[in-house]
């Protein structure tokens, strides 16, 4: 069964550094998303992406964040100048065009900022 994959599974970085989280969505999907879950809190929407542009972003998704689909398979989330409060689990999700409401999630990347 096709699945969303994410790398790395765990990323440790120092405050102020830049990180890139990578996702490979399901191959025929056209809509892509990033969510995050701070430890002990709920899953929060960050951004959605379609047709090579951002469809919607949350208040969390400020200038520190950017997304990109550099080729036909990868979908990346870049976090510049990381802060301690960026420590969280980051989930990538994708959905197909016909059933765009049904999102499939990857296993997540745990980001630890020290």
């Amino acid at each position: 069964e096709p699945e969303v994959t994410q790398t790395p599974s765990h990323q440790v970085t120092q405050m102020g550094q830049e990180v890139i989280l990578r996702c490979v969505p399901i191959s025929n999907h056209l809509y892509f998303y990033w969510y995050r879950q701070i430890l002990g809190q709920k899953v929060e929407f960050l951004v959605s992406f379609y047709n090579n542009e951002i469809s919607e972003k949350s208040e969390i998704f400020d200038d520190q964040f950017s997304v990109e689909r550099p080729d036909g398979s990868n979908f990346t989330l870049k976090i510049r100048s990381t802060k301690l409060e960026d420590s969280a689990m980051y989930f990538c999700a994708s959905s197909e065009a016909v059933r765009s409401y049904e999102q499939y999630f990857g296993p997540g990347t745990r980001l630890t900022v020290t």
């Binding site: 809190q41 899953v43 959605s48 469809s55 765009s100």
Partner: protein
């Protein structure tokens, strides 16, 4: 804006007992409703969804949920739980827009099944 409330942060239950995980939502427009399950160290897996039609929806692993519009609820039930059902359960809503629709999640309910 939409919001989701999961009143129970933890639900302990014995194996083979029934369980109900509660979810209430708030929205000024019609929404789609979902339940996701997160097993330890794994991503979110869709359990079931309500889009329209019959208010009782059946999902994977023997779970079902009932949409109640008047009470703005979407409670998840299982008649007999198994140890393997131990996980975090998230209720979520999205507004059908025809394009990419974000999910708004509740805070989650940890279901702990014991012998």
């Amino acid at each position: 804006a939409q919001s989701v409330t999961q009143l129970d942060s933890q639900v302990p239950v014995f194996e083979e007992a029934p369980v109900e995980l509660r979810c209430n939502y708030s929205s000024s427009v019609s929404v789609y409703l979902f339940w996701y399950v997160q097993y330890p160290n794994q991503g979110l897996q869709l359990l079931l969804k309500y889009l329209s039609g019959s208010t009782l929806v059946k999902g994977i692993n023997g779970f079902e949920a009932e949409f109640n519009k008047s009470q703005t609820s979407f409670h998840l039930r299982k008649p007999s739980v198994h140890i393997s059902d131990t996980a975090e359960y998230f209720c979520a809503v999205s507004v059908p827009t025809g394009t990419a629709s974000k999910l708004t999640f509740g805070t989650g309910t940890r279901l702990q099944v014991t012998l």
